[in-house]
């Protein structure tokens, strides 16, 4: 049996969870942004480096990097979707149950709560 959490505990758990999830999203976004903008900046400043041939083949670093960014984007969305659908949603529904049991849910829905957190920005 799960013990019923107090209002403060339930709220704290909710905010902790939300800020963890937001951070997770921001880090993943940064990975994509960094990969992409280093690519864009190299196009602007260092086109020669992107023109390096890889070994004896005619494929250049730029082409490999470009295709990798496409693959990274797909894998990144995949990782997030998997994590969110498998773990985050489950955790969240538990936390929301706690909020409901402790009686904090109503006030959170209405938004009259002193413990306000901005989002990632």
């Amino acid at each position: 049996m799960r013990k019923i959490a107090s209002v403060q505990e339930a709220k704290a758990r909710f905010y902790k969870f939300v800020s963890f999830r937001n951070k997770f999203c921001v880090y993943l976004s940064l990975v994509v942004l960094v990969c992409y903008y280093t690519f864009v900046l190299s196009i602007g400043f260092l086109p020669e480096i992107l023109g390096y041939r890889l070994g004896p083949s005619s494929i250049t670093l730029g082409i490999l990097w470009g295709i990798s960014i496409i693959v990274i984007s797909i894998i990144g969305t995949g990782i997030y979707t998997l994590f969110a659908n498998k773990y985050f949603d489950k955790e969240q529904s538990q936390i929301i149950e706690d909020l409901q049991d402790s009686g904090a849910l109503e006030s959170m829905i209405k938004g009259d709560d002193s413990h306000q957190k901005g989002g990632v920005r």
Partner: protein, 553 residues
């Protein structure tokens, strides 16, 4: 509805008659000889999609059904439909053409078009689904003053839709003229009428299925093309790239960044517009309301990203394939070594070389279907902005008889269709290459900052959105008009006042700053209310409690 079916039939017959009457007077290469397989394929596509429209009309009787297909589309279906909305004829024919001309530089566009998607799923998609109902303005209006913020959101949304439509319509007219031997004017009218039928009678349900069918056809066609290209180069990538390098006038330069983006400012600016523009396109964002919850919204972006990424890899291979197999073929190269293929027709010509007239017909029909699907998606989001945002929520204070709302929606869809036809005719033969870039620049510099700040920034106020949005929109339009692509190429002046074609690097930060400064210095009573509303909005955005439900039908 019967009338619609009969009308549809007539318009199909009309296509045949016109096609046979059009004769050989179109410019270009072999398309003068009509491809009956292409026309047949296209008629089948139109018949099937009009059939779907007929069945969808039952779902689309209410506004909920009309705008969101009842919220019952699955993640996978929506993912395919999003990819269908996003993979326009411009990205297929245009990127292949770009690679054919410049090699590596074409890849810069494909990557930019794709990298917006991870950002959409990480930061926007599920919050969007949790907060919104029909249009992206619903999210902005959640805690802010509905009238003011909906007005600016609807205007900037409509601007994106209209500029995007111009590019699609002019492209469609030109393409159909070349592919089917049909006069430009008729081509534009047929596209316009078909898109009006899909949207007005079938709403989001029909539009979604048109997108799904089109996405499958396009991905299937491109996959077959790539397999043939790889087969012809003996599944040896080295040999394939070597062939391309030896054929192309630029030689090894096609394997690295070239002159397409002349300076770092242009490169970054284009990158910003493509990446964040994706997260601000109203017709794409609207698709998140067709699924039942945040989980399905996430899944749809994952499938969409996978399919779109796969598609761009295919276009890359097709582009280099076109260099390898078309530039090496004396049939397509003039005596001066220049390509004889009309611009953007490389993929279509390559399909003929690879698979003969039947495959050429297939790819032509797919290209046409692609345009139809994209314009239908644009039309429904434009109709949403006019009817749901401007009419119901701004003019009628959100209180409107559902039947009147549906009537306004349908009139708006027809109106946008007619406007698209008129724009297509007005811009015939003009250089409209800048319009897609402009649509993306507006989406990135106006819609995206507003949406992002609205979801995550507590201190955003109504005035910040309204005036910040206006500043952003005016800046983008001014900079684009003064840029070389309009000031010189369209208006014919000698040199541009603003040196860069892509304004996002200036306009996007400016909008963020403007919204921030105005919101911060806003001490009105409304501003206080806006800030107080954040906690409740954030809780719903994060938890999904209270989201607009799917309806059974």
């Amino acid at each position: 509805m019967k009338k619609l079916a009969i009308f549809g039939l007539f318009s199909i017959l009309g296509v045949c008659n016109l096609a046979s009457a059009a004769g050989l007077d179109t410019a270009g290469f072999a398309q003068g000889e009509r491809n009956y397989f292409a026309i047949g394929m296209f008629i089948v596509f139109v018949a099937v999609t009009l059939g779907i429209t007929y069945f969808s009309s039952k779902v689309s009787k209410t506004s909920q059904g009309f705008y969101t297909a009842g919220g019952n589309i699955t993640g996978l279906q929506n993912g395919i439909a999003i990819s269908g909305d996003y993979m326009s004829a411009a990205s297929f024919l245009g990127i292949v053409g770009l690679i054919y001309a410049n090699g590596f530089d074409g890849l810069i566009y494909s990557i930019g078009f794709l990298v917006g998607w991870p950002i959409v799923v990480f930061l926007i998609a599920e919050k969007f689904r949790n907060l919104g109902k029909y249009t992206f303005a619903d999210i902005i209006a959640y805690r802010l003053d509905s009238k003011k913020v909906r007005t600016i959101s609807a205007i900037s949304g409509l601007a994106v839709v209209i500029f995007y439509l111009i590019a699609q319509m002019v492209g469609a007219g030109g393409l159909i003229q070349v592919l089917f031997g049909l006069p430009y004017t008729y081509a534009i009218i047929i596209v316009g009428i078909l898109m009006i039928c899909y949207v007005t009678f079938g709403g989001m349900h029909a539009t979604t299925w048109v997108q799904i069918i089109k996405a499958c056809l396009l991905l299937g066609g491109a996959t077959v093309m790539v397999i043939m290209i790889l087969y012809m180069s003996g599944f040896d990538l080295h040999r394939y790239f070597e062939m391309a390098i030896s054929n192309h006038a630029k030689g090894e330069a096609i394997m690295k960044p070239g002159t397409f983006l002349p300076d770092p400012v242009s490169a970054i600016s284009l990158g910003l517009a493509l990446m964040f523009g994706t997260a601000g396109l109203p017709h794409i964002l609207m698709r998140f309301f067709t699924v039942k919850n945040a989980k399905e919204a996430r899944k749809s972006v994952f499938y969409a990203t996978g399919l779109i990424g796969y598609f761009y890899i295919l276009t890359f291979i097709i582009g280099f394939g076109a260099i390898a197999f078309l530039l090496g073929n004396p049939e397509f190269v003039g005596e001066d070594g220049k390509s004889l293929i009309p611009p953007n027709m490389e993929a279509v010509v390559l399909s003929k070389v690879l698979g003969g007239d039947v495959f050429l017909g297939f790819i032509s029909a797919v290209a046409f279907a692609t345009i139809l699907a994209v314009v239908a998606g644009l039309t429904i989001s434009g109709a949403g902005a006019i009817s749901h945002d401007l009419y119901v929520n701004v003019c009628k204070d959100g209180k409107c008889d559902p039947q009147v709302e549906m009537r306004v929606t349908k009139i708006a869809s027809i109106g946008i269709g007619i406007l698209a036809i008129l724009l297509g005719l007005a811009f015939q033969g003009q250089n409209v290459a800048f319009t897609v870039g402009l649509a993306f620049a507006i989406a990135a510099s106006v819609n995206f900052p507003i949406i992002l700040l609205c979801i995550y920034w507590k201190n955003l106020t109504t005035n910040g959105v309204l005036y910040g949005g206006i500043i952003g929109l005016v800046t983008v339009l001014t900079l684009v008009i003064l840029s070389p692509s309009v000031w010189v190429s369209v208006l014919g002046f000698e040199s541009a006042i603003f040196p860069y074609n892509h304004p996002a690097i200036f306009s996007m930060p400016l909008t963020f700053i403007a919204i921030w400064v105005i919101s911060r210095s806003d001490s009105s009573a409304r501003a206080k209310k806006d800030k107080e509303g954040f906690a409740a909005q954030d809780f719903r955005a994060q938890s999904g409690i209270g989201i607009s439900e799917a309806v059974a039908h």
